[in-house]
Symmetry: C2
Subunit: 298 residues, 2 copies
């Protein structure tokens, strides 16, 4: 299976199984071999490469040295499934793990999945992750591709720009009347309750700085899911930044109003994916680029 | 501040700061004392209690022995803020951390936040967590309360039943025509693509067992966010279980149909919260019980 390569494929599979399952015993059960066989294979692989590959803990983790090998294991596994499919004429058991940031998953991304030829993919395995974590998941091979706001290529990956999401600052008319009316905006925003998605969500703070040129510290509610975030604004809990496509119907109908009209925050997005000659990954990349062209600003 | 108790409050605050910030140095910055003062306080507290309280690592973590103390620190902090507020006549700086399962956050829960008297809370800090993790967050004091499917009380917490969420199996009419029509349901469901929320989401599998009396292994797509999960079903990617209140309009309009009419899965939910004589927590509990009475089956 790995002819021509310098790494034993059984050892490689065993290494990936230990990391996936978290322990030598669980890997042994999955591979239907004895724990001592697992241990021997790992030791052989480690002495072959002259590196400790696994931190023996609960759970067992890859060392920094092991990460490149872990990605190799995932890449080989994808290419094997595709080769078998090409031989047999049908795709079986291919899971396609992809990380997507929350707002993209809640917005323009989903149609891309429908646009991948059905015969190519058995199962999409999406993860909702912010960009910091996506890079790590790409690096260690947990995901094959990611939508991320980070343009710096992860080693071994290609990067394609997707376009920009534009975020507008919005609140209900009642909220605006209660908290913002009749005084300068920069002053009002110092007291007006604000929503954030999580502690890493700096969109609201970026708008505050744009509008007020100061660092403000208003009361903050954290609502860590895109749908509930939008609904919490609609209920009047606070103001927050919502993607223009999502918020457009509410603005048009007057259910929401802009807090700082004419101000916005743009977030450029990127598609990072493994440099692999994989038909599935190429088809998904094409579909994601089409969905982004339809749903994002260029 | 902790008169009558056997633990020095400065030592307790320092311990909580180390866990919150992840290191002695960061705790020193937050508390505006020197790292060696942090170290001295922690050593004094550990020798006072005869237990190692902190695993010195990156990040620093509480030991099992330290967890009860961590919860004490959070509880004292809440009661202090409330006492100060009672004296000064206004609540300042109170963050109320609460864990909520994804479907509740996406459904009946949010109105409860609006129903807590505004003068009681400065900031809601919601976390979207599944029930396993919620118990841990309650135990170590990261959250004060949680909506969970787990009726077993976490030590030191009260449990109140909230009602049941009912999940129906749904798909688009086109999907049903393509995958389910013209053959026995149990046979069709073995091949028909199915959506799950994450690897712990057993709702679909529970319905499969109810309907087919067998363990099936259909193709599975993972869509880990409630809104996108519903939209992916609406796009025809697969069938899945959606909460009846969320899916009702789509069923009424014929945009979705039931996959296994007459079958459903009920999930009872519970409110777990610290046993504390706290006005804020009592007010939130009342509001959550009212929202549940309005939005859940009894």
């Amino acid at each position: 299976m790995l002819a021509g390569m310098q790494i034993d494929s059984a050892q490689l599979d065993t290494f990936a199984a230990v990391i996936d399952e978290g322990s030598f015993d669980a890997a042994a059960r999955r591979l239907r071999i004895t724990p001592s066989a697992v241990s021997q294979r790992i030791k052989a692989l480690e002495s072959r490469l002259g590196q400790v590959l696994i931190q023996r803990g609960k759970p067992a983790r890859s060392t920094a040295a092991g990460e490149a090998l872990l990605r190799l294991a995932r890449q080989v596994s994808l290419l094997e499934v595709e080769a078998i499919a090409a031989v047999k004429g049908q795709m079986e058991g291919l899971r396609l793990p992809v990380a997507v940031n929350a707002d993209s998953l809640n917005g323009w991304f989903l149609p891309a999945l429908l646009d991948v030829p059905r015969e190519l993919v058995t199962a999409f395995d999406l993860r909702q992750e912010d960009q910091d974590h996506s890079a790590e998941l790409l690096r260690d091979g947990t995901v094959l591709a990611a939508v991320t706001a980070d343009p710096r290529p992860v080693q071994g990956c290609r990067v394609r720009p997707l376009g920009r999401m534009r975020y507008l600052s919005v609140a209900t008319p009642e909220y605006a009347e209660r908290w913002l009316a009749g005084r300068p905006l920069a002053e009002a925003l110092a007291d007006a309750p604000m929503l954030v998605f999580n502690t890493k969500d700096m969109l609201q703070h970026r708008l505050l700085r744009k509008v007020t040129r100061r660092r403000l510290d208003p009361p903050v509610h954290t609502i860590p899911a895109p749908g509930p975030f939008v609904r919490a604004i609609g209920l009047g809990l606070g103001w927050g930044m919502i993607e223009e496509e999502v918020v457009e119907p509410d603005l048009a109908a007057g259910r929401l109003v802009e807090v700082a009209p004419g101000n916005y925050v743009d977030v450029p997005l990127y598609w990072q994916y493994w440099k692999l000659d994989s038909p599935v990954l190429n088809a998904l990349t094409d579909a994601v680029l089409r969905a982004a062209a339809a749903g994002l600003r260029s």
